[in-house]
């Protein structure tokens, strides 16, 4: 098989320029965000079912969660029958 490096196989190392501490008074660790921030800054890794369009599925998520805005990352449209 061909040996082209995929963007998801690149490994990066974290290098330190200078040490500093962060004040717990501001912001949250992403995995510890409380409600409603957890939704406001959240993303769902959805397994799109066949049939409805990506747009329809996104509209359902909006309705289920009762939120104003949602958007999907890359259309997965149903195969057109022709």
């Amino acid at each position: 098989m061909q040996g082209i490096k995929t963007p998801w196989s690149i490994k990066r190392e974290l290098l330190t320029k200078s040490e500093d501490e962060t004040d717990p008074k501001y912001g949250y660790k992403p995995e510890e965000r409380p409600y409603p921030e957890i939704i406001k800054f959240g993303i769902i890794n959805l397994d799109k079912p066949p049939g409805p369009s990506s747009h329809e599925v996104t509209a359902w998520i909006k309705r289920i969660l009762g939120i104003e805005h949602a958007g999907h990352g890359g259309t997965l449209e149903p195969i057109a029958v022709s």
């Binding site: 061909q2 998801w8 290098l15 330190t16 992403p30 959240g42 397994d47 998520i61 890359g74």
Partner: protein, 251 residues
């Protein structure tokens, strides 16, 4: 089509642009319209690996000029008569249906795509974090009933996950709010840098807590950023964090 569809909520919709530009992986079934040998199929698959030229299909929402896309790999997993189970890793904006159609033309017999499932969109894959619409309905109801936030955490990931494949630059608290107001990132604000960054690369700016602050364009290499004492290191392109999250420590 089925498979990985990241759905960003509220403020997180700002990270979608990073996902749209990210590579994808699909698994699908190609149906041949005539006979072709296994050897020939594999030969043509390898011809369609690397840089390919593709004219967007008629129904496409983009300009139909021929464009170049990179196919990272294209594997025939199983060949059963005229059905070929394939797996492909490709650059954002590749039309897989068109790819299969074009492969059919080169094979001579013609082909069309019968089924397709996306198994990767950038950093999102078919792993334990993936949920169905039913899971979303069920877990959201459980949260409403119990108030137990772990129900939300089981299906809502932090938006930072969407930036998982971008190189990261970490900054100190005192630099955060200026970036949120659109300022560019200068050398003194930086605490940590990931390796392999080159000028013009898209990078993600993070707080020391691991929160996404902004997307930007690198103005220097990782090594130059490590040494620099002044100057713009990253040009801020898209602010992700609301202003006022961190204190205003700049004039």
């Amino acid at each position: 089509m089925t498979g990985v569809l990241p759905v960003a909520l509220e403020e997180a919709t700002k990270v979608i642009q990073a996902l749209l530009r990210a590579g994808k992986e699909y698994i699908g079934v190609m149906k041949l319209h005539g006979d072709a040998s296994e050897e020939r199929i594999k030969e043509v698959f390898s011809e369609f690996t690397g840089k390919i030229y593709q004219r967007p299909p008629l129904r496409a929402s983009v300009k139909r000029a021929i464009r170049v896309r990179t196919i990272y790999y294209l594997d025939a997993l199983e060949i059963d008569g005229r059905n070929v189970l394939f797996k492909v890793g490709c650059e954002a904006g590749t039309y897989v249906r068109k790819l299969i159609h074009d492969i059919g033309k080169v094979l001579g017999c013609g082909a069309h795509m019968h089924e397709l499932r996306r198994i990767r969109a950038g950093p999102f894959t078919e792993d334990e974090s993936m949920v169905t619409l039913h899971d979303v309905l069920y877990l959201y109801d459980r949260w409403r009933e119990t108030g137990n936030i772990s129900m939300l955490r089981r299906f809502i990931l932090p938006m930072e996950k969407a930036l998982g494949l971008l190189p990261k630059v970490f900054i100190r608290d005192s630099a955060v709010d200026a970036i949120c107001h659109g300022a560019h990132l200068t050398a003194p604000g930086i605490t940590h840098i990931e390796s392999g960054i080159n000028p013009m690369d898209t990078v993600a700016i993070f707080t020391l807590k691991g929160e996404a602050v902004a997307l930007g364009t690198a103005m220097a290499t990782t090594e130059e950023m490590l040494k620099a004492t002044h100057g713009i290191m990253v040009k801020t392109e898209r602010v992700l964090m609301p202003r006022g999250t961190y204190p205003k420590l700049w004039r």
